[in-house]
């Protein structure tokens, strides 16, 4: 029989102690925990920026901050939420759950795993340092939106742009190494009998996400490198005078950017596909079509990027191609939605917090998907583009989609992580406040967007006032509701009703065969999967 071979052989479940446990960790659970806490902290940082934005937009007129600072808030809010919250949270969940779900003791490349994590504080340190400098009156933090279009970010970018560029490089290295690790783990560490088509859907979605990451993060690194060269070394990539093209920037950026948005949703699809069967007490409907749908979404995501660029004046053939290709994504995504509904159909459902979040996810993500479909209709997008309608779309898919998926996953798995049940009452309170306020926050954005309010503006004309005020109220309720979440997580970490190893009545899968809390090394002997 196989056994874990460790340097420090004496204790079987030996845990390093002190700060070194975290700094030098090679343990997937500790690293997963660090990822999750990092993401949680960044959620509050990026969320506080959103609250600054919303406070300024509460009424027309400039009240609290200068337009320049407003742009910095928008930019950093977008960057932090995307790269500092959603992506690290997913990697954290993958770290915790993938080895347990496939019956492995740890990730395939544990030291690289730790490096992937520790690069993030470095990267975000650089980014946030430029904000601190800006607050101290020394230059400006990045202020060109999370999409950093040239030439606003090249010729006209503030000098902190260079820190931003390298910060993106570090994030890229981190994501690529993280993705390689997940691929190696899934390909190489599965327990005997765990064939690909037996893997839990969460593992599948991450497997595919990891490929997306390896394919597009280097392209992002390429585009920021070209920016750096244009800024300081005289190249003309994005400058027509030298034979370049500002729109070229957008093509390269969105070749990364569009797959990126699926990177931010596929793992949530995976989480929902774990949770719905558990609480419906019924197997997932259409397992294999779920897998194929995920793969199709990933494939299509590479050929739709220019739907972000309909107004840049592409030749009409290009506009048509990207419109058609984008529309196709509705099909595999629809398959997923229908399969979730069919899984619930004739189940025996209960509604604990994870399930509540999962159901809200299906409702609200679908709404966000519908608006996405509207956006991809090129002639209509001429009216939607760069308005709050787009902002509404992506917050539905990102906040009530990706973030709800993460919250659902945390509630679902935290008993396994800590060995304690979370406080169900608080969980439900958190859910209802979050679900209601997020709609008060984001739904009115559809209206102001259609009525013609552009995005990324610190001040707006009078006809948008009511709905903006409403959104701001929703934002503050939403923001402060997250303190309940924080409190609930801390409380669960400290103690509570002991969880059984299976935790949920309807749960199935290897992770539920391990005791709660899961042992330091998940499976010291590979389980056999029938």
């Amino acid at each position: 029989m196989s056994a874990v071979i460790e340097e420090t052989h004496e204790h079987h479940d030996h845990k390093p102690t002190g700060i070194g446990r975290w700094l030098f960790s090679t343990n997937h659970k500790d690293i997963g925990t660090m990822y999750l806490w990092f993401s949680f902290i960044m959620f509050f940082v990026g969320g506080s920026m959103a609250l600054v934005i919303r406070a300024e937009l509460f009424q027309p007129g400039l009240q609290l901050i200068e337009p320049e600072f407003f742009n910095q808030m928008t930019t950093l809010h977008g960057l932090i939420m995307v790269f500092g919250v959603i992506m690290p949270a997913f990697v954290g969940l993958a770290n915790w759950m993938v080895p347990m779900m496939i019956g492995a003791p740890d990730m395939a490349l544990p030291r690289m795993n730790n490096w992937s994590f520790w690069l993030l504080p470095g990267a975000f340190g650089l980014l946030i340092a430029s904000l601190v400098m800006s607050l101290m009156g020394m230059g400006s933090a990045p202020n060109f939106g999370w999409t950093f279009y040239a030439p606003l970010s090249t010729t006209y970018g503030p000098s902190s742009t260079d820190f931003f560029i390298f910060s993106v490089h570090l994030m890229g290295i981190s994501s690529i190494m993280g993705a390689i690790n997940i691929i190696a783990t899934i390909m190489n560490m599965r327990a005997p009998g765990m064939t690909y088509m037996k893997m839990p859907i969460f593992v599948w979605t991450w497997f595919i996400t990891a490929y997306l990451l390896i394919a597009v993060m280097p392209v992002l690194a390429g585009v920021v490198t070209m920016m750096l060269m244009d800024r300081h070394f005289g190249t003309s990539f994005f400058n027509a005078a030298g034979g370049g093209d500002p729109v070229l920037f957008q093509h390269v950026f969105w070749f990364f950017g569009h797959p990126e948005v699926y990177i931010m949703i596929l793992p949530s699809f995976g989480i929902i596909s774990q949770i719905v069967p558990t609480f419906a007490r019924k197997k997932i409907f259409g397992y294999s079509s779920m897998v194929y749908a995920t793969a199709s979404i990933a494939f299509l995501s590479f050929i739709v990027w220019a739907h972000h660029m309909f107004t840049t004046g592409m030749p009409v053939a290009g506009e048509l191609f990207f419109m058609y290709a984008t529309m196709l994504i509705a099909i595999p995504t629809g398959v997923k939605v229908f399969n979730w509904v069919s899984t619930m159909w004739k189940g025996s459902m209960t509604f604990e917090t994870p399930m509540l979040f999962a159901i809200a996810f299906i409702f609200l993500f679908t709404i966000g998907g519908f608006t996405g479909l509207m956006l991809c209709i090129a002639p209509a997008d001429f009216q939607y583009h760069d308005t709050y309608f787009v902002v509404a779309h992506f917050h539905y898919v990102l906040v009530t989609g990706a973030a709800f998926g993460i919250m659902a996953g945390v509630y679902y798995w935290i008993p396994k992580w800590t060995g304690n049940m979370y406080d169900e009452k608080l969980g439900k309170l958190h859910f209802w406040l979050t679900a209601i306020s997020s709609n008060v926050l984001f739904f009115p954005m559809h209206f102001v967007g259609l009525a013609g309010m552009p995005r990324r503006i610190p001040d707006y004309s009078l006809q948008f006032a009511e709905f903006n005020a409403m959104a701001t109220v929703g934002a503050f309720v939403f923001g402060f509701s997250q303190l309940i979440f924080l409190y609930n997580v801390l409380k669960t970490q400290r103690g509570g009703v002991k969880a059984t190893s299976k935790v949920w009545e309807g749960a199935e899968g290897l992770e539920w065969t391990l005791p709660s809390p899961a042992p330091f090394h998940s499976f010291t002997t590979p389980p056999t999967v029938k």
Binding site: T26, F166, L170, I180, V219, G242, G244, F255
Partner: protein, 292 residues
Amino acid sequence: MSTTNHGEYYIPEPSKWPIVGTIALTTTVIGAVNTIHAGGEINLLLPVGLLLIAYLLFGWFGAVVDESMAGKYNEQVDRSFRIGMLWFIFSEVMFFAAFFGVLFYVRVFIMDWLAGGSNNAMTHELLWPGFEAVWPLLTNPDNAAVAGPDKAMGPTGLPAINTAILLLSSVTVTIAHHALRQDHRKPLIIWLAATVALGMIFLFFQVEEYVYAYRELGLTLDSGIYGSTFFMLTGFHGMHVTIGTTMLLVMLVRAIKGHFTSDNHFAFEAVAWYWHFVDVVWLGLFIFVYWL
């Protein structure tokens, strides 16, 4: 400690290297930015960061080599390393793909549009009436602001020689690999040394070529989009050749020390894959940057 761990899981002990790596990279990039902002005056953090990176590479790889020599790795670990290396190379492919994509976009679309093609008739008429789409682009749209090169870099001469050198080096590294698989140490060392030498010659010629481009052709990084794509593609490739050659050199040292056996030489193979990858990129470069 056991010597053969086949069929058992291996988990490395906690390690300081990831943290060193983070500090090294962060220090380096801060130093790099400060250096750029100081107009090229070297900021202390840059050399410190680079030294830390060197320390990291020696330390981390050293530790892995020691563990490997101590026989701690089993087949599963070996497989993880292989998967890791392959997908790492794939990510590098995508990095180059971005730059190749830019090159194609420039050549196929931008040249045409600036000259009034597709829906850009007015771009040509009102903004760049004198512009002519010829590749390599010697006269930029606004040649007063961004002066174009005097001449283009042709495929003959140094680039052709370098192509031959790299192709040859791919052969020599393969011969070395065969030798290694049969545990023939001497040919291994000879052919590996030949590969390293070819890599160095390539780099030498590339420097020559750059000097020639700057001095004789007026082809520089700031001579418009032709110079931009030329130097970015060949420059990043050259950087990869440098890394590859260094890694080959390390393999040579290890081969001389007798580290590899016919059934345990993952490091060698990884470097060989990398070398082939660098080679293939060069072929793409030769065809699309120099030749067509």
